[in-house]
């Protein structure tokens, strides 16, 4: 079975996520401290991990683009950031809901985990205006890659800053030795994380396929419309292109 197949991956994503959510409500026990509200953890944390890892993947793709100059890596980096920002929106909303239920506030401004994630998210939101403010596509791709690499460096810093910070309202589930997850919660969490990772990959592939199709359609349109002009007795499109390129 080829798991890279565009037909298998979406189904695998749906099955894994459904299984994960079923485990959340029918298998994982309620948290002794927070009770039922802790079920948001299985959605919120995998979303956050996938969004942050996605930003780092984009940084690696941007490095490959800067090294080799192949524009396909720039497109991949763009799409990785795009999907990670969408997941980032979900992280902020689900986190706000959890905060409201647990702390009585939608957002706690002196909590480093929340603020540093918000900063990273807003930093990546500036990627779009930066990218589209540059008209020359070559420069646009290069500057966007430099941005992706620089912003990518903030992601591990975000993790480190959170661990070093002293205000600890936000729970550190994976860092504390005495409050680690029980096995049933771990299994559920890992299945949800796998599902979310697959979802990220599926969305990236859909987005890349859509971009590729639009690019091919554009080329086809230029070729056909150019031909149309050629039949009418004028110059055909590629020559016109060549003329433009050399002018």
């Amino acid at each position: 079975m080829n798991f890279r197949s565009p037909r298998i991956l979406p189904w695998l994503t749906v099955v894994t996520l459904t299984a994960g959510f079923a485990l959340v409500f029918f298998f994982a026990p309620n948290d002794a401290d927070q009770g039922f509200i802790q079920k948001i953890f299985y959605l919120h944390v995998p979303l956050a991990i996938c969004a942050l890892v996605g930003f780092m993947v984009a940084a690696v793709q941007a490095i490959i683009h800067l090294r080799g100059g192949d524009s396909k890596w720039d497109v991949r980096s763009y799409v990785s950031i795009h999907i990670s920002i969408i997941l980032g929106v979900a992280v902020l909303i689900t986190g706000a809901i959890w905060a409201r239920a647990s702390w009585g506030k939608w957002f706690v401004w002196d909590e480093p985990t929340l603020v540093s994630f918000l900063i990273v998210f807003l930093l990546y939101c500036t990627y779009y205006p930066l990218r589209y403010a540059i008209e020359d596509r070559e420069r646009q791709a290069r500057y966007a890659s430099v941005f992706a690499v620089t912003a990518g460096a903030f992601v591990p810093l975000n993790f480190i800053a959170v661990r070093l910070a002293e205000t600890l309202v936000h729970p550190r589930v994976f860092a504390t030795s005495d409050s680690g997850l029980p096995p049933k919660m771990w299994i559920t969490f890992l299945v949800c994380l796998a599902g979310m990772g697959l979802l990220w990959e599926t969305l990236v592939r859909f987005e890349l396929a859509a971009k590729s199709s639009r690019a091919r359609l554009g080329r086809l349109r230029r070729a056909l419309e150019g031909d149309d002009v050629g039949v009418a007795g004028s110059r055909i499109a590629p020559l016109a292109h060549g003329a433009t390129e050399t002018s």
């Binding site: 509200i37 991949r76 689900t94 596509r137 859509a210 359609l217 390129e245």
Partner: protein, 98 residues
């Protein structure tokens, strides 16, 4: 931190999962709209190609003028490099620079 009662916590948990599903549905809807646009463009291009074929059947001389067409052929080696996502970006950049 005291645990919220189930009826109270349930609303928040449901809210979080519904938000996630809603975001996913919005994304799928946007993708569906894009797919429709691609489909429409494809239909337009098919029509354009059909018209061109009709014209070349009616006017064989015009078709001969299209003898320069190999340069236009998507299979031409020079164009293969652009057959990647974003290939058109590079191409349009060249146009813009010039």
């Amino acid at each position: 931190m005291p645990a919220l009662p189930l009826d109270e916590a349930g609303k928040y948990v449901a809210g979080a999962y519904v938000v996630f599903l809603a975001l996913l549905l919005i994304y799928v809807a946007i993708m569906a709209t894009r797919l429709q646009r691609i489909d429409r463009e494809l239909a337009e291009l098919a029509e354009l190609a059909e018209r061109r074929d009709d014209r070349s059947v009616r006017d064989p001389d015009g078709a001969d003028a299209g003898g320069e067409r190999p340069a236009n052929d998507p299979g031409t080696p020079g164009r293969e490099a652009e057959d990647v996502p974003g290939g058109d970006l590079r191409r349009s950049s060249r146009q813009e620079v010039s």
